[in-house]
Symmetry: C2
Subunit: 357 residues, 2 copies
């Protein structure tokens, strides 16, 4: 296995991950391949979300759409954080208007016992094939490919609740009332997700993002006790491959130091906590990703411009990847997304000079 | 107008608000009058939520139910944060399974123009009558009565969205795209809510809580620009009456200093940010309320006990009011709620001695 990251990276995105000076701040968007793009909606008239992920040619095409449409500095693999639950032994369905449904939620020690730790090459080979196809398509271009997986807590919350949740009551009850079953579930998830991300890196993903999207629902003591060790297990395993890892969550203003402790080359911050404060709290030893409010893309151009400037003004010049604080909403105007890419590059075009001073 | 707070308060709850030593930490719960109590459900078979709030005798009875059932140190007026929107000129309905619905949402400057600033005595006199009835019923007992209102942002979000929201997109769009209309709306709300809380204090509420439940959805810069001045306007007006004011929100780990700047005798913190960190950030000049995770009440007794102890261990001994981080969920076991009251009093029974050392 050969990974490209051991040499000094030349890509703008990978240099920012490594906290090296850049010619301009790299930018990409969570859910940049998605419903807001007409060319994505055209593909969705033919295939469901799960069908796209099972057809590497189609998934690769969708992954590349925003690269062409927006001029972003990174592509993110088109997939879903719940894909690994199927080879673990659960039945996953996307119900329109309701989101993901897991038909037999995991609630007991016996339910956990039945779960497999899949082999990503055998069981999620179509995803790895998508990674290879996208890398080939991006050859010779300064656009990095990011792989991803859900973090153990966020994936566990869907498995235990059976779908999206507001209060995460059943998940927290399992933590509190059945700590052995919780430990077994989180251990199986950590092993599954570490192997899956490692396989993505080996297939050619140049960075990976660990999405702990819903972990902000936990108190800091609960995070440390019931989640941190398992996220750490995944992050350590993946960092050993040499690819940078973005560790992301929303509503995590109270968890930033603990998430950093768990690991990650880059910490993803949502729009709530300003990046100057995140930087002051986490120090220079880690890069930051974020953190425009996705709703700012619905604002008048001059307000959007001010908000983009404010994010850049608060961010460190070295070690910053511009992104939203969470995913693009389905009806975001494409022109606004494209305008943000241009603004970020324009407003930071003097960064190399500056860093060399 | 005579308010009792100007003298040194003797009530455990009011002493904690004033950061005076207490014989034990006071405790009450958001939504302590609600569906988890069988005696509340019995009343709801006869009256809808809005009907209860319009009948002072019934509202007073519901307000007092948890005082008898739990032994809490404060009662909170039974009402709803959206009651003032009706006399402002909007039609409010509670739709089962959906929550509050405002039938003609406020979206334009003309919509804002049509809103009235009600006179709480004329338009919300039934709420003030409930305050008087509860105070009379609590005479001679060490149980304080807390009044409340929604904060301008949280009430505005329902008025603009037409009901509960996930992303607050329409609300944020109004801020960004129509700042004059937003300013006019927030000013009318600030005046309405300040007058309403002042009237509650004058009717006998011994403290009031300003619920900015959903303000955590905003970035810190947006909070400072679009919300803080209006919350401050309410808080200043109410603090002038001499009653302590609890300033509460959820998901506000990134906003605590700004919320304190806006005002409040007590800052309410949800379960996410530990109270030792909140205390370190806000200093000794303000009391803290919180912050057990409401889901901890579904945990086994020994886990619940540990969680209660952890909250108390992290809280300051002087100037702490024990509460949940948000409201009691409808199916919380009553025995667990009662057990928390007993634990808080038991674990802190030595506080006076300690404070006198």
């Amino acid at each position: 296995m050969t990974l490209s990251f051991n040499a000094t990276p030349s890509s703008r995105f990978l240099r920012a991950c490594a906290r090296l000076p850049v010619d301009a701040t790299p930018v990409w968007f969570m859910r940049q391949a998605g419903r807001y793009l007409p060319q994505y909606r055209a593909i969705r008239t033919k295939y469901s979300l799960l069908e796209i992920t099972r057809r590497p040619e189609v998934a690769a095409e969708v992954t590349l759409q925003p690269v062409e449409a927006l001029g972003v500095d990174a592509a993110i693999l088109f997939a879903d954080i719940l894909l690994p639950v199927e080879p673990m032994g659960l039945r996953l369905e996307f119900v329109p208007g309701k989101g993901p449904v897991i038909h037999e939620p995991v609630r007991t020690a016996a339910d956990v016992e039945r779960l497999r730790v899949p082999d990503p090459r055998a069981d999620l080979g179509h995803v790895l094939e998508t990674v290879r196809l996208v890398r080939r398509a991006l050859e010779g271009r300064d656009v990095a490919l990011i792989g991803f997986a859900g973090a153990p807590f966020t994936v566990a919350s869907y498995m235990v609740e059976g779908g999206p949740s507001r209060h995460y009551r059943t998940t927290k009850q399992m933590m509190y009332a059945a700590p052995d079953a919780w430990n077994a579930l989180m251990t199986k998830l950590a092993d599954t997700l570490a192997a899956y991300l490692t396989a993505q890196a080996e297939a050619g993903a140049q960075a990976v993002q660990l999405f702990d999207s819903w972990v902000g629902a936990l108190s800091l003591p609960d995070y440390r006790r019931y989640v941190l060790p398992y996220s750490q297990r995944v992050l350590k395993a993946v960092e050993a491959t040499g690819v940078p890892v973005i560790h992301f969550g929303t509503g995590t203003a109270h968890l930033l130091e603990a998430m950093r402790e768990a690991g990650g080359t880059v910490i993803g911050v949502d729009w709530r906590e300003p990046l100057d404060r995140a930087h002051a709290r986490l120090g220079d030893g880690v890069a930051l990703q974020g953190n425009l409010d996705p709703i700012a893309l619905f604002a008048p151009p001059e307000v959007l411009r001010e908000q983009v400037k404010d994010v850049l003004r608060r961010a460190p010049r070295v070690g910053h990847i511009f992104n939203l604080g969470h995913g693009l909403l389905p009806d975001t105007p494409v022109e606004a997304v494209r305008a943000v890419v241009e603004m970020v590059h324009e407003f930071t075009a003097d960064y190399t000079d500056d860093a060399e001073k």
